[in-house]
Amino acid sequence: MSTQTTTAAQDGVATQGPTLIIGPAPYVHAPLTRQAILAVFITAVVPVLGVATYFFGWRALGVAVAAVAGAYGAEVVAHWARQRSLFGSPGPALVTGLVLALALPPAVPLWIPFIGAFFGVLVAQELFGGYGYQIFHPAMVGWVFLVISFPSFMEGWLEPFELVTAATPLSQIRAGAGPDLWTLFAGTTAGALGETSVPAILLGGLLLLVTRVADWRPVVGMLGTVALMGWAFTGNPLAELMAGAALFGAFFVATDPVTTPLTRWGRFLFGVGVGLVMMVIRLWASRPEGVAFAILFMNSLVPLVNLLTRPRPKKGATAGA
């Protein structure tokens, strides 16, 4: 057998007959396929979207539909430009669209989520090679694009049920009079569609963690940092956790499989970094909330984090052992 191999290797070029084509690693198949991961994620978002609809009315669903349409539209346009088959799987567009929609204030006109998702997917995802190749989270890019481009439309904060204009709990806290913790927990406060209700986020988040679609490390790293900094600088860590988009960001954005580090402790560091940047923006910058900026900032550091946390062989281990 060994002689045979040698001969085959020697005449190399003149190989005929069927060829074994070997693709790049990895070869191990996880039970969770891409479709399944996206399906679980979308299921996990359902309670958050449900509560948003309950709080802010059917408009919330309209915002979600517009954002998903924008994201999918951008994919179709990019596929057309790259001469691929036009209509791919709707999974990635659903995820990006839903995350962006839930990060928007309730009173936005419907073209805002559409344009934001379209820009985010086209620029941050499709220009980088399509879903799976993006460096920056498309929904966060879309959100930042909207905040920078249409600042006046991105401040339509409404009180749930009554739908009258109100200040968000974060700005109330900074002004010195935040709502009590129970109100924050229940989420009957003004804020982005998906960020107010803690039980809904926890329900969806736990589903992500239990099914292993999301890693617990970025969540723990981010929320731990937020709590620690909240305790150190405001003395009220629970309020810092429950007000604003910290929880939503930790469970649904910082756990994104594509734009976060590959290594386990890299993901933990990623979470810590997001929490740190976010709290710095909250406490000392001009904006009340900074989750999206923090995520994008840490996205840009992912290659570095990967490098720093690269697993090394144990001492004494040899190659092939």
Binding site: V123, F145, I148, S149, F150, P151, S152, F153
Partner: protein, 222 residues
């Protein structure tokens, strides 16, 4: 040179800078002003005039002096000539269009170190006749101008709803503020570059279609 025609030769030189080597798009040089001052189309016109004036003056003067400038100290000599011309246009702009001069700010004095000027002077004017140098300067200067006006137009129309100050979109329509800011300049620049590369690739002969089209011209020196 049987069919040598003075004007045909000049037009060839002008069109080279105007279309084939348009500085910010195809040579990808002179980018700082192209990104920084193009918030409105009119800024592009004024910046383009300033660059054309300096380039024209520098190329003609250096072409005239090309046989007397010692090779070893040519760059300092070029820079002194360019700096004089830049000071002239800076003061002229400050006196005639003070509002736009304020917007252009530091980028007018910075024309002294602009790669287009030094590049064309070094690569062309230093060994060509004054007439040819003038044609070359006209082509590259106007090429730079149309590029800045193109970027400025896109940014002004999307970011402000106006074009050369004229209202294009109805007053109440929301504008995309991103295009007024620095990231918008990069996004616009990238989009225009991509579009022009696609057009060039489409128009290239079939054999070259799959090869990458080089964007840097053979005589780009800086």
């Amino acid at each position: 040179m049987a069919q040598y025609s003075f004007w045909r030769e000049k037009w060839r030189l002008i069109s080279e800078g105007l279309f084939r080597d348009t500085p910010p798009f195809f040579l990808v040089i002179g980018l700082c002003p192209a990104l920084a001052v193009t918030t409105a189309a009119i800024n592009g016109v004024i910046m383009g005039i300033a660059v054309t004036f300096v380039l024209m003056g520098a190329e003609v003067i250096i072409s005239l002096l090309r046989k007397w400038i010692p090779r070893t100290i040519r760059i300092p000599v070029y820079v002194i000539i360019i700096a004089v011309l830049v000071t002239v246009i800076d003061l002229v702009l400050a006196g005639t269009v003070p509002a736009i001069h304020r917007v252009l700010g530091i980028f007018v004095p910075l024309i002294v170190v602009n790669c287009i000027i030094l590049g064309r002077v070094e690569a062309f004017a230093a060994h060509n006749t004054p007439a040819n140098a003038a044609a070359d300067a006209l082509g590259y200067g106007l090429g730079y101008m149309w590029a800045l006006v193109a970027i400025g137009s896109i940014r002004e129309i999307l970011g402000n709803g106006t074009w050369f100050g004229l209202q294009i979109f109805p007053e109440g329509l929301p504008t995309v503020d991103l295009f007024k800011l620095a990231p918008g300049a990069f996004v616009t620049m990238a989009a225009v570059l991509a579009a022009l590369n696609v057009i060039r690739r489409r128009r290239a002969p079939t054999s070259e279609k799959n090869a990458a089209i080089p964007v840097v011209s053979r005589n780009a020196a800086a």
